[in-house]
Amino acid sequence: MPPFTSLTAIAAPLPLANVDTDKIIPARFLKTIARTGLGVHLFDALRYDEHGAERPDFVLNREPYRAAQILIAHENFGCGSSREHAPWALLDFGIRCIIAPDFADIFHNNCFKNGILPVRLSRAICDALIADASLGPNARLTVDLESQIVARPNGETVAFDIDPSRKRALLLGLDEIGETLQRASAIAAFEGRHRAASPWIPGLAS
């Protein structure tokens, strides 16, 4: 996983609530066996018309937002399915940070697994940042994970909360599976206890 430390980049405003994972990446693009290459299908229905031509009014089709690395949205971002294709598509497009009042649980989790930082800030602050992001070429925000701060174009800073273990994993770009495998003996010990306590969970080998 790529580490996330600090990012200064164009922020794209997407003032919509309940942006679901089908909207982020429609199901017909899930038939891939790779993690990459999904960026072109990001927000497909919002981004392209029925002939596949770009809709000029959609934010990511406009300058400077084609180069956006930060996205700012409204409530319940990422609701719907567990498809990790949603963060993969965002990442492949170049998005490394999403700011919203709140996120759906699985999507929120999936972001951390892919080096994307989801930042929770109040609706009022999100709206202020959306106003900042609407300033065109100067719509740059800085998101600093170490100090847990978003810096606005006017120099003001906003602090955000983040779970400490998730922060650490992002900063270091940790290989979580590798970390957990170091606990293999604890897992094996648990398995022994668990099997004794619940012998009624049979194996599935047919």
Binding site: C79, G80, I177
Partner: protein
């Protein structure tokens, strides 16, 4: 200390607790399908890792599979590649597998319970958000992303923080013609699509206890549409009777010992919930969605709402966007909205009980001219059972299509999809824009309501089809 059902299952599966409260949680059952697993197996391969417990893992193909005759294989190349990739991965990593031509093949959330793979008191995960379904057995079951699929394959554990507890208590009894689907749609309408975020929902009360297992699966299935990752119902005699004798369930004395333990799986009387919501079952009517998320739902006898009545401007805009997409006008009677397609199936409503409901309405009637109506059983065994009961004949004589099992038009990854602008009465769980095909319009409802819509050619109140 008094504990909730969630806390009991959770605590029995904690391998280690970190200082910040994150737990390494042991997973008893891992269900795998073709769409969210290829990158996870690839990750294992690249890192040179094994599947820690193939005997706690089972794979099935469901999302991509065609529901027409499949003796000739799969025509769509990318669907075929995904299915073949799963076949290769399960062979390489030694994972048990229910292939396309196995009668037991079906939607992952149907076959888990059906095969006795999903059991009360266990932890169950799958790279699919509707894993919440299995919670109806009193299991802690939730959807995970592909990175977590890989984590579970490699370690049989997940890093998780405990969820909060939300109790949804439904008092009284459902009225005739009102089903579990209507109940869960009413619950989502009440608490909203983010109402359960960060929580596990435990459903309790007289109306929940009165539900059969099929109804309980339907309710828990849609917990995710309220934002909750998991739904739970305490196991009882209904549950034990359902699990008894299933192929992968414990048998004989082991089963009796299991039941002894399962009886302890209920929230203590004085357990504390973070939130409680109480509903009166008698007030629930047959429901249908009018918008593009499941909380945009109303009783069928109501009219399309008016965005101008919404106070919050953002809400007003969102409602207007929904109405534009759905091509509906404020004040229009829901029961007059004409439909083009009916889809009966999915992990929400693809069980034998659902097909019986649809057949009961369809018997002796005809699908309205110009309407295409599909019935897609949730598994090969559901299909076989329905055929043994003659339900397929009732349905086909009424003009319904009788298909092979799979996810089908719930997600439109196979050839079953809506054309742009088509309107569908669907028993699935998501009415998001484009969910059933680009430009398609979805109205979620119960199987009986969907069958009534097929016959009427419009959204219809099933109580008029008794």
């Amino acid at each position: 200390m008094a504990r909730t059902l969630f806390e009991k299952i959770w605590q029995a599966h904690v391998v280690e607790q970190m200082p910040d409260g994150t737990c390494l949680l042991y997973i008893d059952r891992h269900l795998v399908h073709e769409v969210t697993s290829p990158q996870a197996f690839e990750g294992l391969r690249v890192a040179g890792r094994q599947v820690r417990r193939p005997d706690a893992t089972i794979a099935v193909v469901d999302h991509n599979v065609p529901t027409s005759d499949r003796s000739q294989g799969i025509a769509e190349p990318d669907s075929r590649v995904q299915i073949e990739t799963l076949e290769r991965n399960v062979a390489e990593f030694g994972v048990p597998f229910l292939p396309l031509h196995d009668t037991r093949q079906g939607i992952v959330h149907i076959i888990g319970p059906e095969q006795g793979i999903s059991l009360p008191g266990t932890t169950i995960v799958c790279g699919d958000s509707h894993t919440s379904t299995h919670g109806a057995l009193g299991a802690l079951a939730f959807g995970i992303g592909t990175s977590e699929v890989e984590h579970v394959l490699a370690t049989q554990t997940l890093l998780q923080k405990p969820a909060k507890n939300l109790l949804v208590r439904v008092d009284g009894r459902l009225s005739p013609g009102v089903t579990a689907k209507d109940l869960v749609l009413a619950i989502i309408g009440r608490i909203g699509t983010a109402g359960g975020t960060g929580h596990v929902i435990e459903y309790a009360g007289e109306a929940i206890e009165a539900l059969d297992m099929a109804g309980r699966f339907t309710v828990c299935n849609m917990s995710i549409e309220a934002g909750a990752r998991a739904g739970l119902i305490a196991p009882d005699e209904t549950t034990f009777a359902y699990v008894r004798g299933r192929p992968f369930a414990p048998q004989g004395e082991a089963f009796e010992a299991a039941v002894q333990h399962w009886r302890s799986l209920r929230s203590d009387p004085d357990a504390v919930f973070d939130k409680t919501i109480v509903l009166d079952a008698a007030t629930v009517a047959p429901m249908v969605t009018w918008g593009t998320n499941p909380e945009a739902v109303l009783p069928i006898h109501e009219t399309v709402p008016d965005p101008r009545d919404a106070e919050d401007p953002a809400r007003r805009q969102a409602m207007q966007r929904m109405l534009d997409y759905m091509a509906l006008t404020p004040g229009q009677a829901l029961a007059q909205v004409p439909i083009d397609v009916v889809f009966i199936g999915s992990c929400t409503n693809g069980r034998i009980e659902d097909i019986r409901e649809a057949a009961r309405v369809a018997r002796g009637r005809r699908v309205a001219p110009g309407v295409r109506a599909l019935v897609v059983p949730g598994s090969g065994l559901v299909k076989r059972q329905a055929e043994a009961e003659g339900l397929d004949r009732i349905l086909t004589e009424a003009g319904f299509e009788w298909r092979e099992p799979g996810c089908s038009m719930c997600i439109a990854m196979n050839p079953d999809r809506l054309a742009p602008g088509q309107r569908c009465a669907s028993t699935s769980n998501r009415n998001f824009e484009g969910r059933q095909g680009p430009g398609g319009r979805t109205h979620l409802c119960s199987p009986a309501m969907a069958a009534a819509a097929a016959v009427a050619g419009r959204l219809a109140d099933v109580r008029e089809f008794a």
